[in-house]
């Protein structure tokens, strides 16, 4: 379970451009929830992810994962519990390393990076098995450099790498936004499949209202640092894309966009 308690986030504090995004913000995500977050630009979706991951500082509040407050930890320390797939496919993999080396790196997360062999040959078939579930054929290219893969293939690989070791929380940061519609569709289906099969607690920021409506079991809409809509389970299942679009337009008009 992830809890955000009384979060205060102020951008440019003490300057004329000072902007308070979150004031006493609270959110609770239960185990097994797959939460989609939608909202216009500047609504605070991405800031929320960055606050959880420790990429940006906060003025006040607690970030608690499974009872442990991680708000004072450095970003890399938090990632021992969190996995993150980025919008840019280049962020989740190393282009000059081979697929096998990338998988080996991911597989060693949470363990020591010592002087033992970087690649465990015995694990290769397991990696191939995992990659085969993608159905992209990259399990047969274990020794090619990841930089030679397409954006979609890299993103799929990043997804597998992020979820290869047990994590307590998965963050999907507009992870289909940089892909063409077909590839985005494939990645989205894969994501759903991975989240379900590994029973992950996940949080997905997206601009695609259809994905938000069709995937996951909880949905929130954000506006100016506040949650304006929060639907889960059956209520969420009954929310259609059109409903979302109507509400989205309403808040956008309110904002004057």
């Amino acid at each position: 379970m992830l809890e955000l308690n009384s979060i205060t986030k102020i951008y440019n504090p003490g300057t004329v451009t000072e902007m308070c995004l979150f004031q006493d913000f609270n959110l609770q995500i239960n185990d097994g929830q797959f939460l989609s977050i939608v909202g216009s630009n500047g609504s605070g979706k991405t800031s929320l992810l960055n606050i959880i991951c420790g990429s940006i500082p906060i003025e006040n509040g607690d970030v608690i994962i499974n009872g442990k407050n991680i708000a004072r930890l450095k970003d890399y320390q938090r990632y021992s519990r969190i996995g993150r797939v980025y919008q840019n496919p280049a962020m989740g993999t190393c282009p000059h390393l081979t697929i096998l080396e990338n998988m080996s790196l991911a597989d060693n997360k949470g363990r020591r990076f010592n002087l033992s062999s970087g690649i465990n040959k015995n694990r290769k078939s397991y990696y191939q098995e995992q990659l085969a579930t993608l159905g992209l054929g990259i399990e047969n290219k274990m020794d090619i450099k990841v930089g030679l893969l397409s954006g979609g293939q890299r993103q799929a690989l990043a997804l597998i790498m992020t979820t290869l070791t047990p994590i307590e929380f998965l963050i999907l940061d507009e992870h289909t936004a940089a892909l063409d519609p077909n590839t985005a569709e494939i990645i989205m289906k894969l994501t759903d499949q991975v989240v379900k099969s590994k029973k992950l607690t996940a949080m997905m920021v997206t601009h695609n209202l259809r994905y938000a409506a069709n995937y996951g079991n909880r949905l929130i809409m954000m506006n100016r640092g506040q949650i304006v809509l929060d639907r889960a389970e059956n209520e969420k299942a009954q929310t259609s894309v059109d409903d979302l679009l109507t509400m989205f337009n309403a808040i956008s008009i309110e904002c004057g966009n």
């Binding site: 390393l97 790196l105 002087l115 062999s117 970087g118």
Partner: protein
């Protein structure tokens, strides 16, 4: 013919000894993507430590690990300044390099000469026991070759370890390292430590070879290192299987060979740096041309 052989031997020896420096620059520049200027200070640091130990009668072989330790410390300093004090990479290197200029003089007192009655690694009993009959330039070549091969193999093996893999990852995509719950700063520091240890080792062996330490011997070594790494990696960019260390090694030998060629041609020394620059540019342009050529082929295919 002997002249040519002698020239090839002594030039290769120079290329080999300086290749250790190129390995160091390869790690920072090519793997970590960190332009490390510490090199201009850690190279003479190795030589200063060596010269002082040798004039005090220490075992010549002992100077190698001690110089490496001193170089490692220099790299650690740059790393801590960059990572902990959040000083930009280029500036962090400049700060350490500048400090080392004074430190080197403090260590050595002034420019030092090692007398001929003192044994260097090339004249030590250990080497002469199995290479005694061969002339000094052969001994220098063989000893340098053995050291360089040993260091190269160890480095290549290290790059295959988990720690080495993480080091390669940090220069390639530091975000991924953070995602793996590892502090990218620590990984960078490890890289700087290894790199500067190698650079100091190179300085140490140059001191053995020349029997001299001079406070200005580090000037321009960063540029030399960058040039050799870029020459090597550009030439071998088509071959994925060629190790970066091999490329740096060949780059170093080519560089020294070009200098020797320029000297043999009787080109004025004042123009040598200009020739270096032209060579450098030619190789870069050639590399770019190759890259574009390959890209066109790929598109057609």
């Amino acid at each position: 013919m002997n002249v040519l052989l002698d020239l090839i031997i002594s030039t290769s020896t120079q290329g080999l000894i300086y290749a250790l420096l190129s390995f160091g620059v390869y790690i920072t520049y090519k793997i970590l993507d960190f332009p490390d200027l510490t090199v201009d200070g850690s190279f003479p640091l190795g030589a200063a430590v060596t010269a002082v130990m040798m004039t005090n009668g220490s075992n010549p072989w002992l100077t190698l690990p001690v110089s490496m330790a001193a170089g490692a410390l220099a790299g650690l300093t740059t790393g801590l300044i960059h990572v902990k004090l959040k000083v930009r990479d280029l500036l962090a290197g400049i700060i350490t390099m500048t400090a080392l200029f004074s430190i080197n003089l403090q260590i050595a007192g002034s420019n030092l000469i090692i007398n001929r009655d003192v044994d260097t690694i090339f004249t030590s009993a250990f080497v002469t026991s199995f290479l005694g009959s061969s002339s000094l330039i052969y001994r220098k070549l063989i000893v340098s070759l053995l050291i360089v091969i040993m260091v190269k193999v160890l480095l290549d093996l290290y790059f295959m370890t988990k720690s080495g893999l993480l080091l390669r990852a940090v220069g390639d995509n530091s975000v991924l390292v953070t995602s793996l719950a590892k502090d990218k700063g620590t990984v960078k520091i490890i890289g700087l430590v290894i790199s500067n240890a190698l650079v100091a080792l190179s300085g140490s062996i140059v001191c053995h070879e020349q029997r001299a330490f001079s406070s200005t011997m580090g000037t321009g070594q960063v540029v030399f290192g960058l040039a050799t790494v870029i020459i090597g990696t550009t030439i071998f960019q088509k071959f994925d299987s060629v190790h970066g260390t091999t490329a740096a090694l060949i780059g170093s030998i080519i560089y020294k060979a070009c200098m020797q060629l320029a000297i043999s041609l009787g080109l004025p020394a004042n123009l040598l740096k200009l020739i270096t620059a032209v060579l450098f540019l030619a190789i870069l342009v050639f590399g770019n041309y190759q890259k574009r050529h390959n890209a066109t082929l790929k598109q057609k295919g």
